[in-house]
Symmetry: C2
Subunit: 242 residues, 2 copies
Amino acid sequence: MQNPTAAILIIGDEILTGRTREGNAWFLAGELAKAGITLQQIRVIGDDHATIVAAVQELAGAHDHLFTSGGIGPTHDDITADAVAAAFGRGIGVRADARALLAAHYAARGTELTEARLRMARIPEGARLIDNPVSTAPGFTLENCHVMAGVPEVFQAMVAGLLPGLRGGAPLLSRSLLVMAPESSVADPLRALAEAHPEVSLGSYPFTAGGRYGTYLVVRSTDAAALDAAFSALAAAFPEGQ
Amino acid sequence: MQNPTAAILIIGDEILTGRTREGNAWFLAGELAKAGITLQQIRVIGDDHATIVAAVQELAGAHDHLFTSGGIGPTHDDITADAVAAAFGRGIGVRADARALLAAHYAARGTELTEARLRMARIPEGARLIDNPVSTAPGFTLENCHVMAGVPEVFQAMVAGLLPGLRGGAPLLSRSLLVMAPESSVADPLRALAEAHPEVSLGSYPFTAGGRYGTYLVVRSTDAAALDAAFSALAAAFPEGQ
């Protein structure tokens, strides 16, 4: 059976203007590989209603899962929940269960549940809440679209609660060999290995460190036996590899 | 006059599998803001010919500039140059000027110009070379698509050579105020400010540090006077801000 597929949609002007170095996609990419869900695209867009609606429709339509990050806080530029509702043609409003979570959270701190804070209880019709053990305001799943916060600690906690409930597949396994040589020196044997082992993916990632050239050779597969066979051949072709 | 628009396309399985935390898009996003080129989308895709062709056609068609990173090295998985040529319906082959650059580079090191190394001289018909002062193998510009390496040092050097030659616009300016309060406490005055200053973009970015809540309030505009006016109003609304 094929692994399910996924896309990640990062929403926020702060990424496109270079203010913030995005890290949620990197974190989730690693978690999806372990869960056996094949990530096919990451996309970053700005805080614009029409752009979010179009991207959600396209990416949710083209993949088994769409994970979003950003734009579900209390401020005027947090427009993701409304845009996701619009993308699926659903209504949206403050929902009792989400409101109750926020009411208890702010009551415990002696803080008022203002109109702005209530925005975080706006949940599209038919969505399931995603738990937020860090700061309470929930995410939600609407059809195959999982809407989560942009704050990294909250995003990671939401992913930890969400992923075990999704059907996964065979985890993507990888093994890596470090060769202290430029990529162009390893290209020919690597191509021969890739042709001999079409059942694995073989990547090469060059770097320089202290004036020396090095290349990481990475074998990836969801099939452990195929991975080991290809890695053995790789290690034999590069006996100096570490 | 409107600023030109841009998209960034990052190509590489190593990003989608979570192996590598992407940083070239972040770097280029900051450079584009300074150059007055409005970045509208970042997309990450894998090393697949048809996927690259489709993404290049879509993004180059929808923006004034498309910048790509990754997949122009010497190995079997470096397929970006061929895919970009296909996306624009151009032929591709080893070009004399690119070959001469590589020949001189490897001759100076007493290294053979192998078939694999010659792959880095494959340039689509009609493209202009982008200089690579780090490791010689050039990038190229084909129509509005700027094809650059994935290795960060090389990518940054290529950007530094390329950007001054592109028509820019008004730089995106920003000013930031730090308020030690949760985002939900600043939401109401922030919304009023955003409504009073529609000519600027106003973002809020919450964080926690040492158990305390803080929020960065960021004003952005290409109009310095509008930026200063909105920032003065912001600073007046949050006199405790730093």
